[in-house]
Amino acid sequence: MESTAARTQRRSAASGKAGTSRGRTAAKKTAQAADSAPAEPQLVQLLTPEGQRVSNPEYDGYVASITPDELRGLYRDMVLTRRFDAEATALQRQGELGLWASLLGQEAAQIGSGRALNDEDYVFPTYREHGVAWCRGVDPANLLGMFRGVNHGGWDPNSNNFHLYTIVIGSQALHATGYAMGVAKDGAESAVIAYFGDGASSQGDVAEAFTFSAVYNAPVVFFCQNNQWAISEPTHRQTRVPLYQRAQGYGFPGVRVDGNDVLACLAVTKQALERARRGEGPTLVEAFTYRMGAHTTSDDPTRYRGDDERAAWEAKDPIARLRAYLLAETDTNEGFFEELETESEALGKRVREAVRSMPEPDKFAIFENAYADGHALVDEERAQFAAYQASFSDGEGV
């Protein structure tokens, strides 16, 4: 099954390995690759933009046993996630949501990494990980509560081991690290994954998470979706070298993966999670991808970037490439795509209806959950608020 080209690639990779005196980390190898091709560091890629499977000796093993059904599963995940995302964008335009942060273009990074996780693993997302949420089984409709303004987080983090979205950039990297320190203390064999963006890489908290995780050898994977932009700022405003290299200086491996290649994201994340579970500590994965849409529905990207860039990335679409592969290399028939289309529409409808029928929050919710054990002032203010509310009905003479 392996082409000559693939074999050659494996050989050169192996010799690359021999050339490194330690040669134990993916980071090291990828970094060396970068040295010889300074223009763009080598990405781990298993599927070309055209949908051709290319071999990568280090990562092939992680997807070797994947079945056509599982491949279709990944495809389905990406399509449904994109459909959900489009629905949310539409709902925002219709005034049902106050804001939406679209993941358009980042489906492979999120589904690939999300499907690499075990149930016991724990996820710390930022605010754009709708695809990862999908993989964890969080009801998509629940994601919309905060964007509709009815809550700040509408799911129980422990039901699906998927923490709430975190808006303060970078904070969750430390939570993930602490959680992972706890996992290690418990002697559990699970891993933790922290998602963040290229912009977030500049925050002190992320650097401190690197330090703590390295020093305590915590089982955490830092999954950075480098979507090329932090609102209007290109990645070179955050770093002058490829981001995955950041890890080396903290003493753990970093690897750059084609973030639009769901197989490569799956493989690279699996490897990193396994390292973590084996007690080998943190890994930084940089998923090289693109934010196809605006930063959020409030943003206007025409002010700061041109169409060409978007067009070039369109050609690397994560869904199209897996579709091409499915059609060329598996027994996937049109029926699958048709059914998926129907399922997509049903999902869109379900989400739309769920949002529209979301109950307005109770006024007194303001005072709920400020504290777990209560607080005298909250009680006092709640009572005053109740009296104030009651004064209106009094006024109406009830």
Binding site: G145, I167, R237, I366
Partner: protein
């Protein structure tokens, strides 16, 4: 037509608050080559509220600097630039994102002048769009002014209208002290006449924006407009409210409040920030001390509750509203 009135007309513009700040920054960039603008997305995008719109295009990337996404880094490097003789005006994208910079603001920016026995000055302006009422997600609607006012070495100001926005920004940039400049984001689009050749009053003085005799309403930033509306409604009910726009939270213009309260005998303070440990507490405590024999009712406070800022669909209940302020006015007048 006399020459002077032509000139007056030229310098009179109708501007929204955001645009007034934009013009003020532009003027500062033109006037003083040491002024630099820094922050996330302040360049091509012009900031998420477009307050710095067009400035990078006209003054270049060396004057209007897009920074890495790190607030401590922004304020910390602004301090360094100030030490080198620059006058940085930094933007924090939203109120809830100033806290990563809190250490640099509180332990360095606020104290370096004193630490150096006056040898070093840090003319840094930290612009923070603040307050709620825009239906935003978490961390985008907070009013953290108290957390800065308690810290000596900082000055805290907040305009309520476009003319003040224009002139107070000029004055903040000219100040040799660090100034936290809170911008009432929900009023960014409110328009007003700005005379760009006026002679502005002192930065830290309150202004009586409406005269009255029964009770004094004190507010700043986004709440000034609300208090004016309250006064309108109260007037219909035959009550004469005086409205004071504080403009400055540190220092607070206690003299102005005192003068008013000595006449009205009653005071209600309104702010969006939580009441507990808010500005209203400081105002109530000091004015009660100063006007003990004048007050016919305790100073009442209307503000946020002691709970995290709620999701957007509850913010109207959380924020001071016309009815809530009127309710406090009624209670004060009932004494």
């Amino acid at each position: 037509m006399a020459v002077e009135s032509v000139k007056a007309r030229e310098s009179l513009k109708t501007l929204a608050i955001a645009k007034a700040i934009n013009e003020s920054l532009r003027k500062a960039l033109e006037t003083d080559p040491k002024v630099v603008i820094m922050g996330e997305d302040v360049g091509k995008l012009g900031g998420v509220f477009r307050v710095t719109d067009g400035l990078q295009k006209d003054f270049g990337e060396e004057r209007v600097i897009d920074t890495p996404l790190a607030e401590s880094g922004i304020v910390g490097t602004a301090i360094g630039l100030a030490l080198r003789g620059y006058r940085p005006v930094v933007e924090i994208q939203f109120d809830g994102f100033v806290f990563p910079a809190y250490d640099q603001i509180v332990t360095q920016l606020a104290k370096m002048h004193a630490r150096s026995l006056g040898k070093v000055k840090l003319p840094v302006v930290v612009r923070i769009p603040y307050g709620g009422g825009i239906g935003a997600v978490e961390h985008h609607s907070e009013s953290p002014e108290s957390l800065f006012a308690h810290v000596a070495g900082l000055k805290i100001v907040t305009p309520s209208n476009a003319a003040d926005a224009y002139w107070m920004m000029q004055q903040a940039i000219e100040s040799d002290d660090p100034v936290i400049f809170f911008e009432p984001k929900r009023r960014y689009w409110d328009k007003d006449q700005v005379d760009t050749e006026a002679i502005p009053g002192p930065l830290h003085k309150a202004q009586v924006v409406r005269q009255g005799s029964d009770l004094t309403l004190v507010a700043y930033g986004p709440m000034v407009k609300l208090c004016q509306e309250v006064a309108d409604v109260a007037a219909e009910e035959g009550r004469s409210l005086e409205v004071l726009d504080l403009r400055s939270v540190s220092p607070l213009d206690f003299d102005a409040i005192q003068t008013s309260v000595e006449r009205t005998g009653r005071l209600v303070v309104v702010h969006e920030a939580p009441v507990f440990f808010g500005s209203g507490a400081e105002i109530a405590a000091r004015i009660t001390e100063r006007c003990f024999y004048h007050l016919e009712a305790p100073v009442l406070r209307v503000g946020g509750y002691h709970a995290p800022y709620p999701p957007a669909r509850l913010e109207e209940e959380y924020l001071p509203s016309l009815d809530r302020v009127l309710d406090a006015v009624d209670r004060a007048l009932a004494y």
